[in-house]
Amino acid sequence: MSEPVKESLETSDGQKGSTAPAWIFALTLLFLFAGGVYFDHRSGWFDPQVYAPYHSSDELEAYQPKSGAAAMFAEGKKQYGMICAACHGDDGLGKPGQAPPLAGSEWVTTSSFKRVEEIPQLGLTGEVHVGGQAWSLQMAPMGAALSDSDLAAVLTYIRGSWGNKASAVSDTDVKAMRSLVAGHAPISGESGLNAIKE
């Protein structure tokens, strides 16, 4: 019974040892190419940060909110990292013997920012109390070389980070402060800070 079946299978092929037609290879290559292009455009190259509807990390970068308050905060974070973080720390907790904390500091989180905005402009020497602890250090006028908008961004950043929830500082505020205190000597300690009108 099995003999004729086997024969019919062999003969149904038509010709023995035939190869697949060339157009199948061409079509397969075409599909592979199209698949590769689709993968390149759509996969994000398996970047764990890239989710749909974004197609690539470049596109995701373009859609990061960069204007208004968000941009100011981002700029402040950048400037803080370059200038302030060396002593005050990325976490704003300060470093013993180098700088007092900014996170939760009663000088930073005030409702008015007249005092805190003059510290980076003029520098600060002598003893201040932060969080019940006395700090007797010297801070150079680190922010004096920054532009109005950059200094405002840094101040906004430190007043709104690490649990601080104080209001933002605008570049016109900084401009007004700078014209007021131009040429002033560094603030001397806590009495000097308290002498500044809030």
């Binding site: 764990p48 940060q49 704003g92 709104g160």
Partner: protein, 255 residues
């Protein structure tokens, strides 16, 4: 024996390939993920759920909630809103510019950037808001698509796959504690057409000295409290680098 070895080899390759695809690949892609910071902020995300919410995750699991509820929000697209914040020193120039601009059909970031560049060239100031879109988001189920970080502290992660009920990824944002207790006890009390079964076993008859009014003399068991604590902790409301959207800054929102 030769056939046996081939069968073994075939099965090994087949299972090994699927292991690579389902276990190794995702582990390489997301396995090292940790806490991240909230976009344009120094706040860490996500924080571990409170202790009762962590216990509530197991109640959620035991009660089979994931059989009918998902906890993942999808996002189809993203659009940009250009908001004029100041007309600057030459308001008439900005006004005439805006009247000539073709403002419909702005969808991509390039279009929005072109418009805001024109506005700033005319002396005005504008902000570009990033707004996620999609059916889940227009239903109010979330502010952005879910990302892997949202589930960092969950074991097991219960994404769910069938939406017999609504998505719960942000149920903590839209429902309060009392609503959830009532809904678990009697689903039809809050939602007339709800087909959710009642979870009365998460409640007991309150003692005489209870904090509830006499009209509602049931009180939740410890499991019930933990489950509601878990549901309230489901709130993915912050923008992240991998899920950006524009939020009102904390200081401005206060005013």
């Amino acid at each position: 024996m030769k056939t046996g070895f081939r069968i073994f080899l075939g099965a090994f390759v087949a299972l090994g390939l699927s292991w690579c695809g389902f276990v190794l690949g995702p582990a390489l892609q997301l396995g090292t993920q940790g806490q991240t910071t909230v976009l344009n902020s120094s706040d860490i995300y996500p924080n571990q759920r409170p202790g009762d919410a962590t216990l509530g995750l197991q109640v959620y699991r035991a009660s089979g909630c994931a059989a009918c509820h998902t906890t993942q929000v999808g996002q189809d697209g993203v659009v940009c809103d250009v908001v004029l914040t100041s007309k600057g020193s030459n308001p008439s120039a900005v006004e005439s510019l805006i009247s000539t601009l073709k403002l419909t059909g702005i969808t991509t970031k390039e279009d929005a950037d072109a418009v805001s560049a024109k506005i700033s060239a005319a002396g005005g100031k504008s902000e570009t808001h990033i707004v996620p879109t999609g059916p889940d988001i227009s239903r109010g189920w979330g502010l952005r698509h879910s990302v892997a970080e949202d589930f960092l502290w969950d074991n097991p992660v219960q994404l769910g796959s069938i939406r017999v009920g609504p998505d719960l990824a942000n149920v903590g944002l839209r429902r309060d504690e009392h609503w959830l207790y009532v809904h678990l006890y009697d689903p039809r009390a809050n939602v007339t057409n709800s087909i959710m079964p009642s979870y009365k076993y998460l409640f007991t008859v309150a003692q005489a000295t209870n904090q509830f009014p006499s009209s509602f003399d049931m009180e939740p068991t410890e499991d019930g409290r933990n489950l509601v604590a878990y549901l309230l902790s489901l709130r993915a409301d912050v923008a992240l680098h991998d899920a950006p959207f524009s939020t009102a800054p904390a200081a401005a929102a206060k005013k």
